[in-house]
């Protein structure tokens, strides 16, 4: 949170800059949002008004679009995204315990981000690797047949899990 506060100022400048590049395009909103997210990792609420001004939409409309698409995030996300599966196959093979231990390791709840901004923890309905259940993903890497002792070292590959 603190970190986010610190970065609020430069963020707005960058946002204005991105917005200005889209000013004369016809249906700019989605690509504009994607670009903001790419640049900043998420779409901060402070970005909504400048984006609305730049696209001639109402702020509430911009928010509506952001909240409609799962791809857009409105809180800062960590450098690494951990996705633990909560699908049926994983569930019956102890997925709940895996989630619990990952939570303990990272010290955050679902949807949370570690204070050092290194990890964001999310869950997904099914990772599509049921044959490896229980499974999880870090960024683009899959990890299957998980057992609680393995978790710490997996996470450590991506940096310190923010103890």
């Amino acid at each position: 949170m603190d970190k986010h506060q610190e970065t609020a100022e430069p963020d707005l400048k960058r946002i204005e800059e991105i917005v200005s590049r889209y000013r004369d395009q016809k249906w700019p909103l989605i690509s504009l949002l994607q670009e903001v997210q790419e640049e900043l990792g998420y779409i901060p609420p402070e970005a909504i008004r400048p984006i609305a001004r730049g696209t001639g939409l109402f702020p509430a409309q911009v928010q509506g679009v952001i909240s409609f698409y799962e791809q857009f995030h409105t809180t800062p996300r960590g450098k690494n995204i951990v996705k633990v599966c909560r699908g049926t196959a994983c569930h019956v093979r102890g997925g709940r315990t895996i989630l619990k231990i990952v939570k303990q390791n990272l010290g955050v709840e679902e949807g949370g981000t570690t204070p050092d901004m290194n990890f964001t923890l999310e869950t997904v309905p099914c990772l599509g690797t049921c044959f490896l259940a229980p499974s999880m993903m870090v960024n683009k890497d899959y990890f299957g047949k998980l057992a609680p002792p393995k978790l710490k070292s997996i996470l450590q590959q991506y940096g310190s899990p923010g103890e």
Binding site: L57, F58, P59, A60, Q63, G64
Partner: protein, 892 residues
């Protein structure tokens, strides 16, 4: 256009191409239920409840979005339709809460109505989890989105009708709901509480906030909003002689399903405990209630005595821009034929006399030259000297719609960044009081670059030579020097305005309340006539602050003009009225409102009769005005409340509110609309018309009217503008026929580009420095104006419990750097001082004002801003300058 014929429930009916099945069905008297459809909104076909079957194919289609096709065989009630409709209703009800049973929307809930029509009960489905009620502290609107059926009507109304953008859907799936930005309560959003979404919501999801369950009322009375001059139709719902709800009148061409917060929620002043219930007489400095006969006898004998002793010129009458046409007509007749004086004026003197005179001289009739609809269809709109959002919200909606939905270009001329700035194509920020130089500058560009409509100028106007001579001086550079608007911007604005096929001008008190108000109006008329945008296409839209400012003037509540702007000094006119009324009439022009006060101070006017106006607050230099009124031999005030003016009276007569009487108001467009009685007068109060008639009786000069119908008949006969309205309808026992607003418009308009006198006249006008600039340590420029939640001096709005709860007191808007300079923090009490007086209010930081300029609202009786102003009149309109003056600030 070829008609399209289809079979509808076995009957052949025809419509026009592009018409939907639903529209044709409604026109043919066939009921089809709808939830997401509203005639004011573009259809989206979301709810599917309006399904009908095309019997040729057996296909079901949503009738609200399906256009007619030749040969269709439509059944609106086939078994298939009914079955599907039932299924849809059941699905919706499955996620509906049990609190539905005691919902205040009651039988107005379209969902419940459709369910009961179809015999679907309220229970019997697996309930889907519901969203919680949102805790809201505003006094107007309550949201319970568990009752939301996601029809998006509120969102569409908010975006497409009032163009506010306060709400939109947030999230998806079951969690989806209409929400504000960051899902905050409405009071923390852009919402203006216009109530449009509440009126349009088909369920109890959006509701008017109520202290208690009041149920619904079968009694609906269609009437006109008593606040600003837009003239919105409202339907009052009445229960046990109480107004329980106001909704937008469905069929009004003015407000089209919308209202502003005053129209939706401000009516509750009618039930204020502060209403006067009986006549009062001042005895030894205190008011005592007295019966009507005694009060009228007292007033009659005192006015009679003054007239006998000092002559009719010692009496003066102030009529009201908030009273009906009939009342103002009676009042001016009372002044002229009973008292024998032309000393009659009305409150619109304070803000719109410049329009009456300026437009009267330039285009030949005194007022707006086209319909609101024509404004909305303009390609370029110039808004100058008007904060539409607060002073004429409905016109503001029309301008925003024009910009957003029709691609119109807005030229905004305002030193203040008003809401419209974000809709503008070009925003010019002239120094306060220099608009006229800017207008002349634009006119010069149009002339020198030959952008004018030469045919129009040559064929329909005169005095062009004189105009172009005066304009020579107004080069863009010269104008830049005066206004600080860059020469490029002046030229751009001029080209934009002139090159549009249809352009319109909207102006308000920022133009008229300066000492050069009349000249500025003429300059605007010049501009419009140069390009021919004066009514044949486009037009000039002169705003009115009060609900009947236009009508009071039309009715001749003016010192120099008889009803219909016929001059008192013209023998033929005065004789016409003298003959009709069977009495001699005074033929010298009387005193205008502010002149009355001057004559009181000089001891020439001894008695005044003030109806529905509050000069103690609305006039400049209140201290002097109050002293003057207190010094009168006799003052009688007729009002709903004990206003600051009424407190100074010898006799106070209690008047009925707009909801308690019949009559007509004329809106700023010139549309004459019916005011209807919804409830009985409060206490012993009486309609103003009734009081004037009784008073004339008591004075021994009865006026021969036994009904308001007869008054309107006479108006029709004697006022050319009003011919063709007000027929009797004996069947409905209505005083006037409902279609009053149908015709008189055309009489006012330049529909065929024809000026009443044949020619429009250019008036070369010169810019003069407003003389209200900072000096001598008075280093800030104060701007005053109205704000959305109040109107006039606040006599009504400050007594509306909801409006005053939401907006309880005055404030000083100031830029942060200006504030720092004086050492003022946000919220500090600030003393605003002019050479004439001082007022105190809390500071509010804003980034909407230019440096050195502060803003104060002028509608709070507890903070009488007008006492800071000296009495300086526009020499032509006799309107006092009340817009801006030099002040200094002190922290208290």
């Amino acid at each position: 256009m070829e008609a399209i014929t289809i079979t509808l429930n076995g009957r052949e009916v025809s419509g026009y191409p592009g018409m939907t099945i639903l529209e044709l069905a409604r026109e043919s008297g066939v009921e089809i239920p709808t939830l997401c459809h509203d005639p004011h909104l573009a259809p989206i076909g979301a709810c599917r409840i309006c399904l009908v079957e095309d019997e040729r194919s057996g296909k079901l289609a949503a009738s609200c979005v399906t256009p007619l096709e030749p040969g269709m065989v439509i059944n609106t009630e086939s078994p298939k339709v009914v079955e599907r409709r039932k299924a849809i209703i059941k699905l919706i009800l499955a996620s509906h809460p049990d609190s539905c049973m005691v919902c205040d929307k009651g039988n107005q809930c379209e969902l419940r109505k459709i369910a009961s029509d179809m015999g679907v009960g309220l229970v019997g489905f697996q309930k889907i989890p519901q969203l919680a009620t949102i805790e809201e502290v505003n006094p107007f609107i309550e949201r319970d989105l568990s009752k939301c059926i996601l029809c998006a009507k509120c969102i569409r109304a908010d975006h497409d009708l009032v163009v506010q953008g306060a709400i939109d859907y947030i999230d998806r799936g079951f969690a989806s709901k209409p929400a504000t930005l960051n899902d905050m309560p409405l009071e923390n959003s852009e919402c203006t509480f216009c109530g449009t979404c509440v009126a349009i919501c088909p369920t109890g999801a959006l509701m008017e906030k109520k202290r208690a369950y009041s149920g619904t009322s079968p009694v609906k009375v269609s009437t006109i909003c008593p606040f600003c001059g837009c003239g919105c139709s409202i339907n009052l719902e009445v229960k046990d002689n109480q107004i329980v709800r106001a909704r937008p009148g469905a069929e009004s061409a003015v407000n089209r399903g919308t209202l502003c917060v005053k129209g939706s929620y401000g009516y509750d002043f009618v039930h204020s405990a502060e209403r006067l219930t009986s006549p009062l007489a001042k005895v030894n400095g205190d008011f005592e209630a007295i019966p009507w006969e005694q009060a009228l006898a007292l007033v009659a004998s005192e006015l009679g005595r003054l007239r006998r002793t000092y002559g009719p010129g010692s009496l003066a009458v102030l009529g009201s821009s908030k009273c009906t046409n009939e009342e103002n007509y009676l009042l001016q007749r009372f002044a002229r034929s009973v008292l024998g004086t032309n000393n009659i004026d009305n409150g619109s003197r304070l803000y719109s006399a410049a329009s009456i005179i300026g437009l009267g001289a330039a285009v030949g009739f005194p007022g707006t030259t086209n319909h609101l609809d024509a404004l909305e269809q303009s390609e370029v709109i110039m808004v100058i000297g008007a904060n539409l959002t607060s002073s004429a919200p409905i016109v503001g909606y029309a301008v925003k719609r024009a910009v957003r939905s029709r691609g119109a270009k807005l030229i905004l001329v305002d030193p203040q960044r008003t809401e419209l700035a974000s809709f503008s194509h070009l925003w010019l920020r002239p120094r306060v009081g220099t608009d006229m130089a800017l207008i002349n500058g634009m006119a010069r560009v149009i002339v020198t670059e030959s952008l004018l409509d030469e045919e129009f100028v040559a064929g329909k106007t005169d005095n062009f030579e004189a105009l172009s001579k005066v304009l020579e001086e107004y080069t863009p550079d010269y104008v830049e020097g005066i206004t600080s608007v860059t020469s490029e911007e002046v030229s751009r604005a001029a080209r934009l305005f002139a090159e549009a096929n249809v352009a319109s001008i909207v102006y308000g008190t920022g133009i008229t309340q300066h000492i050069t108000g009349t000249d500025s109006v003429m300059a605007l008329a010049n501009l419009a006539m140069l390009t021919g945008d004066i009514g044949l296409r486009g037009g000039i839209f002169a705003l009115q602050k009060d609900c009947n400012g236009q009508g009071a003037c039309d009715m001749g509540a003016l010192p120099n003009l008889l009803p219909g702007y016929q001059c008192v000094e013209d023998a033929q006119s005065i004789n016409k009225f003298a003959d009709r009324w069977g009495t001699d009439l005074p033929s010298d022009a009387g005193l205008s409102a502010i002149e009355m006060i001057e004559h009181v101070r000089e001891g020439k006017v001894k008695g005044m009769y003030i109806v529905g106006e509050n000069p103690a607050l609305s006039f400049p230099n209140s201290t002097v005005v109050k002293e003057a009124l207190a010094s009168l031999d006799f003052l009688v005030v007729q009002d709903m409340f004990l206003t600051d003016t009424a407190k100074l009276a010898n006799v106070v007569l209690p008047a009925a509110s707009f909801a308690e009487k019949e009559g007509t108001f004329t809106n700023f467009e010139g549309r004459v609309q019916r005011v209807r009685k919804a409830i009985e007068p409060f206490g012993d109060s009486l309609p103003d018309s009734e009081i004037v008639l009784r008073l004339a009786n008591s004075m021994g000069y009865p006026m021969p009217y036994s009904s308001l119908q007869q008054v309107m008949d006479e108006i029709r006969e004697l006022v050319p503008l009003y011919q063709g309205i007000g027929y009797r309808d004996s069947e409905t026992k209505d005083i006037y026929r409902a279609e009053l607003d149908k015709d008189p418009l055309s009489k006012r308009r330049l529909f065929k580009g024809q000026f009443p006198s044949g020619f429009g006249r250019f008036h070369p006008v010169q810019y003069e420095s407003p003389g209200e600039t900072p000096s001598n340590g008075y280093n800030f420029t104060l701007l005053t104006g109205s704000i959305l939640h109040h109107s006039g001096t606040g006599s009504k709005s400050s007594r509306s419990p909801r409006l005053s709860e939401f907006s309880p007191e005055a404030y000083v808007e100031i830029g942060e750097s200006d504030a720092n300079q004086v050492g003022i923090n946000q919220g500090d009490k600030v003393k605003v001082i002019s050479p004439l007086g001082e007022v105190i209010a809390a500071a509010r930081f804003t980034d909407t004002l230019p440096e050195g300029v502060i803003f104060m609202p002028n509608s709070f009786p507890s903070t009488p801003v007008n006492q800071l102003f000296d009495i300086v009149l526009d020499p032509q309109a006799k309107t006092p300058a009340l817009k801006t003056c030099a002040v200094k600030l002190e922290r208290t």
